[in-house]
């Protein structure tokens, strides 16, 4: 039986990063009165993100980090002052916090939400994509119409190769929630992603 997941999106002009809040529906009884939730890539923790979390009575239990770049993790220190959340990332240390280290192929259930971990190096060595039911949280590996930036040709080739192998092989048409810019779908990226089409 598929878990119904609610997704909230928060955008910050500092770092231009998309941050996501995930919660399971119907609510679990893990945290009476408040809904256990996952935050993905808190690039900044500002008043509007706090309002989004508190206004919806979320209790942030976990933070997932797609990769350890400042635009995606800068909000961690403030978030950790407010919420007792565990951090999950490929890197063992993020913003001075020890993490639960993830590897490709890992499958977890966090805040009642099943998710799997896909490693897509290229933009950075530690880049992860989180697959949650029919959603892919892609960080800076792929966004609407483009793939992530890379340091050189070798890294770009690695990134596109891994995307073809591990993301474009996923059946169906999951939603894509990237680290920056507009949302997309996997079918749209198959058809219109300029970097993929030109590769």
């Amino acid at each position: 039986m598929k878990q119904i997941v609610n997704i909230e999106v928060h955008f910050s002009v500092i770092g231009f990063c998309n941050c996501y809040i995930l919660s399971a529906l119907p609510e679990t009884d893990e945290s009476p009165g408040r809904k256990p939730a996952i935050v993905i890539d808190p690039g900044i923790f500002d008043e509007s993100l706090l309002t989004l979390i508190e206004g919806n009575r979320y209790d942030v239990k976990q933070v997932l980090v797609t990769h350890n770049h400042e635009a995606h993790v800068r909000g961690l220190k403030t978030l950790k002052k407010i919420y007792d959340a565990e951090i999950y990332a490929r890197a063992s240390l993020v913003e001075g916090f020890r993490t639960q280290v993830l590897r490709g192929g890992d499958e977890l259930v966090l805040s009642g939400i099943p998710l799997s971990v896909i490693e897509i190096p290229g933009h950075s060595e530690d880049s992860l994509v989180f697959r949650v039911e029919d959603a892919l949280f892609t960080g800076d590996t792929i966004g609407a119409g483009r793939v992530g930036s890379t340091k050189g040709i070798a890294e770009r080739s690695l990134l596109i190769g891994k995307l073809n192998e591990r993301i474009f092989s996923i059946p169906g048409n999951p939603f894509i929630f990237p680290g920056h810019g507009p949302l997309s779908t996997l079918e749209a990226e198959r058809r219109f992603n300029a970097d993929i089409l030109l590769s």
Binding site: F16, A144, G145, R146, G172, T185, A188, R191, F192
Partner: protein
């Protein structure tokens, strides 16, 4: 938005349409579903978390409605007024909009990829983080709009007005543009070259 439940047909990975246990393909009463969907939209001021693919709408007004997390994929809309509507996290990919009025709408994180937009008025809109990749856009006006961080990658545009628009972080890479007017817009803050895609 929510991630919609799947079709109950064995082996089918598609999303079940609103009010049914099956996807559009496996819905036996497609006409009834589409009629119900159209009536539903017309009768509500606010629609949230609905999967309503394949609707055919014509000659009606949905002005001043609010839509959050609604999937309209494959919609065929002709002469529909969406004037002053609010859309957030809505998916219109592979849709067809003909002679529609979207003036004054507010859109955040909406996806139009692969759609065709003909003779539509998007003037005075706020389209933030819009995905127009691979769209065919003809005889449309985005005049006086904020298109912050929207993408038109691989779009084909003919006779489109982007006059007096905010184009900050807008990406037009690999797009084809004939008769496209950027007058009074900050096009220097947009991306046009293929190499700027990544």
């Amino acid at each position: 938005m929510i991630l919609f439940p799947h079709c109950t047909q064995e082996g089918c990975e598609s999303f079940a349409v609103y009010g049914r246990n099956t996807c559009l393909l496996h819905t036996t009463d497609q006409h009834a579903y589409k009629d119900e969907g159209s009536l539903l939209l017309e009768g509500q001021r606010k629609a949230e978390n609905m999967n309503l693919p394949g609707l055919k709408l014509s000659h009606s007004s949905l002005a001043e409605r609010e839509f959050i997390g609604v999937r309209f994929s494959g919609m065929d809309a002709e002469k529909i007024s969406f004037r002053d509507c609010k859309f957030r996290l809505c998916f219109f990919e592979n849709s067809r909009f003909t002679s529609c009025d979207l003036k004054g709408t507010s859109m955040q994180y909406c996806v139009f990829a692969g759609s065709s937009l003909t003779d539509c008025d998007f003037s005075s809109t706020d389209i933030l983080h819009g995905n127009f990749n691979g769209t065919l856009i003809a005889k449309c006006s985005f005049q006086n709009s904020d298109l912050y961080f929207s993408h038109f990658i691989n779009a084909v545009m003919e006779d489109v007005s982007f006059v007096d628009c905010n184009l900050r972080k807008v990406n037009f890479a690999n797009s084809s543009r004939t008769g496209v007017n950027f007058k009074y817009s900050n096009f220097e803050e947009a991306y046009f070259n293929p190499e700027s895609v990544s």
